[in-house]
Structures are given as structure tokens and as C-alpha cells.
Amino acid sequence: MQKYWRLIIAGMLFSLVFSLRAEYGDVVLNKRAEKEGMPPVIYPHWFHRIRFRCKVCHFELGFEMRAGSNNVTMQEIIDGKFCGMCHNDEIAWGVENCDLCHSGRPGLKSKIHGGHSTAGPGIW
């Protein structure tokens, strides 16, 4: 019976990991946010792709298709670049709504969370 306990604990951890799962394609941006005293940013791909095709951000706006490779600063967003192309109170909410994007738990790492292979090996 003793030998089962290890498996049971492993099973519990397994179910815990899977029950705390972000939506597929959710990106956490935390290169600067927490260093500058704001919670990490969460970018949900699912929400945006209902409203915009990939090409809008990844072609017109110039977002690189790799988490962590875009050096986005708040100043650039305010100047209308990157997120600021739409988050300007015309197409989407403006930059004064800090909390709506900066809504992550403290200490999150910048990467794509959620998804099957993002939990295993890989470089996201």
C-alpha cells in the first residue's frame, strides 16, 4: 500500500496542473511590467482573433511571432504603435484603462501559457 502514495500524490499534482490551465494561446508579457511596478500583461489570442485576423497585428503592426521578441514599451503604445494602434479609445479601450491589460498574477514569466505543447518541451 505504501508504494501507492507516491502515485496518488503524483496524480493529485497532475490534476492540479491541468485544472489551472490558461486558455490556449494566452501570452503573458512581463519583460518590464513588474520591474516598473505594474502587474504582468495578459494578451488573449482567442479574444483578438474573433475580431482581427492574424495579419493585422503580425503584418500591419509588426509584432514578431515569438513570445518575448517584441520590445514593447508603454510610451510606444501611447504613441500609437503596437497595441496602441487599436487601444486608443477609438477601436478599443484606451491606455487609461491600465487594469484591463495589466491583470496578471504577480511573478508570471513572459511566455505563451496554455496549450498542450507549451506545457512541455519547446521554446515558447
Binding site: 489551472l20 490556449y24 503580425h58 500591419e60 477601436i91 491583470s103 504577480p106 518541451p121
Partner: protein, 192 residues
């Protein structure tokens, strides 16, 4: 002796239940609410303001992996009509032909549909940065894809995951010529 056997069976069942728990809870709700997704701060004022995944995604054509949504179907059926451009001068480009990748070992041949991809993406997202526009010029391997290169740039991160083997490896070798002929016909019709 009998007592030990009974407790063994009990523990095996208990163990199976625990291991199946994630599946059971996933079946109850396909999409986690923002407050429970492990990345949003449940205390954040954004919770309750931001749209919940289940609100939006449950109305779209269903799938078995990723966001549990068939995004290409959603687009082609017109359930969603996401914007193609912000700047009015941006040219929206669609390409209709298929590319067949035949060096797949014992797996069926890969049919890459340009149409499904260009509905979402522009040519420049992939060419010439990640894929050279010349047949045979791209040394793609499954290992590189699994590491996030080539197709793995999106598949496994935002597009349907790499566990869906037969959605790309979709053409049995003995039906290759037939598939190519059908593809040509379809492309010609779509180009008109």
C-alpha cells in the same frame, strides 16, 4: 490474503479516479473562467469586465483541441468576420493553391492549403523569413516543428496543436496524384 487484494483493488480504482479527474473536469467546462485560469489575478478589477472565454467560444464551431474552436471553419462559415486590415491602403492578399510536401517518411503526404492560411495571415508572415518560396528549399523536420520553428511557429502555440497528426498528414501516398488533380481543379475554380 483476501484483505490485501481488496485494498489493492480499492487503491487502483482510487488512483484511476484521480488520474481521470482532469478529463472529467474538462468535460464539465471546456473553458476555464478568467479568475481560475492560473494567470489572471482573481483580485484584478478586470475580472468581470473582460469577456469570459466560454461566453465567446461556445458559440463558434467546435473542435477537440486548442481553444476547442475550429477557427478556419468559423471564418469560412461566416460565424466570425474579423477585420483584415486597419490602414485602408493595406493590400489584403489571398492565395488559393495547395502545396504537397512529400518527404514524410512512412507518414501520409502533407497537404498545405494556402487558402486557409492566407485568410488569416499575409504572405510576408511566412515568406521569405521562415519559408523560402521554392519547392524543396525548406529542410523542414518534425523535430524543428516541435521546437517551434517552421509550422511550429503557430501550430502548438495558437493554431491547432501538433497532436493532430492527420490534419496535416492527410493524403495517403497511393491517392497523391488524384489529390493533386483535385487540388488543381479547386484552385482554378477559386481563382476565377
Amino acid at each position: 490474503m483476501l484483505k490485501i487484494k481488496c485494498s489493492n483493488i480499492f487503491f487502483t480504482l482510487f488512483l484511476m479516479l484521480i488520474l481521470l479527474l482532469p478529463l472529467i473536469s474538462n468535460a464539465a467546462s471546456k473553458w476555464k473562467s478568467l479568475a481560475d485560469d492560473g494567470i489572471h489575478d482573481p483580485e484584478s478589477p478586470a475580472i468581470g469586465v473582460l469577456q469570459e472565454p466560454a461566453d465567446a467560444l461556445s458559440k463558434l464551431p467546435q473542435d477537440t483541441s486548442g481553444n476547442m474552436v475550429n477557427w478556419v471553419k468559423a471564418l469560412e462559415q461566416g460565424v466570425i468576420n474579423p477585420r483584415t486590415n486597419i490602414r485602408p491602403e493595406t493590400k489584403v492578399r489571398i492565395r488559393n493553391d495547395d502545396v504537397f510536401l512529400e518527404q514524410t517518411g512512412e507518414m501520409p503526404v502533407v497537404r498545405f492549403p494556402h487558402r486557409a492560411h492566407t485568410l488569416w495571415l499575409d504572405c510576408k508572415n511566412c515568406h521569405e523569413k521562415y519559408f523560402i518560396s521554392k519547392k524543396g528549399a525548406n529542410p523542414i523536420t518534425m523535430m524543428k516543428i516541435l521546437q517551434g520553428n517552421y509550422c511550429g511557429r503557430c501550430h502548438g502555440a495558437v493554431a491547432f496543436p501538433l497532436t493532430e497528426c492527420d490534419r496535416c498528414h492527410s493524403v495517403p501516398r497511393q491517392k497523391l496524384e488524384q489529390a493533386k488533380a483535385e487540388s488543381r481543379k479547386k484552385t482554378q475554380a477559386e481563382n476565377k
